[in-house]
Symmetry: C2
């Protein structure tokens, strides 16, 4: 079941029930515009990643500001986007298992779909499922460009898979997936540029090897918010798959001195100070179930000297130097927190509360929340 | 929205779509029986904590095996339990904010409810709300017995709050909340026994001080799966608020050599090996959105030598010594993982898949999932 929304349009933000997932709509729109302006002159396309936002509503906003389509990681996300009218979707991931592939192929009548593979057995299963359904499905070969996670080795192993796809009557070879996820969170611009330089070189080599076999890559996809400027520089990537740029989070901000390429924090958790019995400490109603801590604890917005010092399941502890800051926060007050990691934080909520200049303007379902399968 | 279930009754477990939240029903029932047997001779009552399971179905199972009622942390959890027919609920937490208190008081017509306070302003707000609604609400004073989170200091400050409650026409003083959450995860039995010994001493002192003022504690509540045997030994606690015992998790198991007081692992994440392109490594479809990692990574069940080595949003990396274990896991196979921390893991799912001896027997909604407000 879904819970009732924590707020309604027309309310003031501070009337929202907490914890609430707040989208600052001015900052969000500015982030979409900023990305569009950065990509437009390069000739590359933006295929925004819905694993961040899990919402057809936000996907439509991105489409209106230039995105050619969406990426997803899971079939459940693809289902929710397709049902919500998104007509061009790439699953940037392997899908393994008969039931999942059946669900994926069933969607192919609703929109333009493509999927990534890194194993001949996955290609065979996909082909069999597409044949049964009488559909043709686009396929990208994922190559490992330095993340050591999914993907075949660049060069000859990727060409073998691509040839197998191209021979199939039910599959369409669309190109390469060449995403370096680990590079997104490297701490310095130099480290990120070096990692993406190496990834791009492996990608160029594979694109060339494919061309020698007569195989063209319509899509060479990859990049995230932390590195996309380097993928664009390389000239080899045709599609940028950034997701976090629309919201930003504290982890990305740490790498960019509070800003990444002009992007602003647009995502916040609104919390309430629910207990204040000791000097220099208070408890907010935001714990592990309300904010992801895998990439660090949240930051307290607009409140100098106040630290989010620790989280348990339903509580967050704030601390400050009572000598320097006195009663820095007070009982019952509502505070904005900046999540450490936006994607899994969004996934904990049923509703976005869109706020503009202090007023609730929109309440949107996080429709694909929990869509892990 | 809620996603379709990943399995249906009658299926074999390995047919479930993954990631799936599996409850091993034999182990689950054994855990409920084990707790009932441990508590029965002591004269204390079990008020099981629904923050673990978030399900009226499981609450009813616990009731049938001796629990007198349920605890919750949030009003949204209380709502879902009350709507599901649970008639005795304690909110073991502070509730701050007009909207939340209105929701809480509105429930008081459906069931017997009590709530915790640690601030005079919370008592005044609750009283005003109860008066408006024409209801009487049970109230416990939470004392800080060593966790340094919520709760007033034991002794005189608690007595002051209790007297204020007792004077109200709309509130009923029910007793003390004396939970030491931090003690649950101390690594040695000695450390846990010492912490709970100190908590019990503070609680005894406060109960005595209340009695001197003519105030009786019907409920002295606290304890969790990691320490409840010590709270029972103390003789001062009348209600045990354990939650995790019904499922167990890897973090509790680490403190008890794989078993805590006879409890078994009953909660698993079923995952699929979705990519296997390197020796001694594979990728499962279980990442940060499918398993909580705040208390450590999950363990791989029944698979010697295979380590869950890292998680990103939608992927988990398995590693093993390929020299010693060869092809320890294979492409497409389904594996059970033991979550590091059960409560926030459950909160990521819409559905429980109840399995007995390899067959899916039940599919239950995690009805209060996401009920953080």
């Amino acid at each position: 079941m879904m819970h009732v929304p924590p707020a309604y349009p027309g309310m003031r933000e501070e009337e929202a029930d907490t914890p609430a997932l707040i989208v600052d709509l001015d900052a969000f729109e500015a982030n979409l515009d900023c990305m569009a302006a950065l990509i437009a002159p390069t000739g590359a396309r933006l295929r925004a990643h819905a694993k961040t936002h899990k919402s057809p509503v936000i996907a439509h906003w991105q489409r209106q500001r230039g995105a050619v389509g969406q990426c997803v990681q899971k079939v459940a996300e693809a289902e929710v986007l397709a049902w919500g009218g998104i007509d061009n979707i790439l699953v940037t991931n392997q899908v393994v298992g008969t039931r999942k592939l059946a669900r994926f192929v069933a969607l192919a009548g609703m929109a333009e779909f493509a999927i990534c593979v890194d194993d001949i057995r996955q290609i065979e299963a996909l082909e069999s499922m597409a044949a049964d359904a009488g559909r043709r499905v686009g396929v990208l070969v994922e190559i490992d460009v330095g993340m050591n996670r999914c993907g075949v080795a660049p060069g000859a192993p990727a060409v073998l898979l691509a040839q197998r796809i191209a021979r199939s009557k039910h599959l369409i070879f669309k190109g390469l997936q060449a995403y370096h996820g680990a590079a997104q969170h490297l701490r310095t611009p130099d480290a990120r540029e070096t990692a993406i330089g190496a990834a791009a070189a492996l990608t160029v080599r594979t694109v060339d090897a494919l061309r020698e076999q007569g195989l063209q890559c319509d899509i060479v996809g990859g990049a995230g918010t932390g590195t996309f400027e380097y993928e664009l520089q390389s000239g080899i990537y045709t599609e940028i798959q950034a997701g976090s740029y629309c919201f930003m989070d504290a982890d990305y901000a740490r790498n960019h001195g509070g800003r990444a390429a002009g992007f602003q924090h647009a995502l916040f958790i609104l919390g309430t100070v629910m207990s204040q019995t000791r000097d220099g400490a208070a408890v907010v109603d935001v714990g592990l179930k309300a904010v992801a801590t895998d990439s660090g604890l949240p930051l307290v917005a607009n409140r100098e000297g106040v630290l989010f010092a620790g989280a348990s399941d339903e509580h967050g502890t704030l601390r400050w130097d009572a000598g320097a800051y006195g009663q820095a926060v007070s009982y019952g007050e509502k505070l904005r927190l900046i999540p450490g990691h936006c994607d899994p934080t969004v996934d904990r909520y049923d509703w976005y509360v869109g706020v503009r200049q202090g007023r609730v303007e929109a309440v949107w379902p996080v429709a694909a929340r929990g869509g892990t399968y």
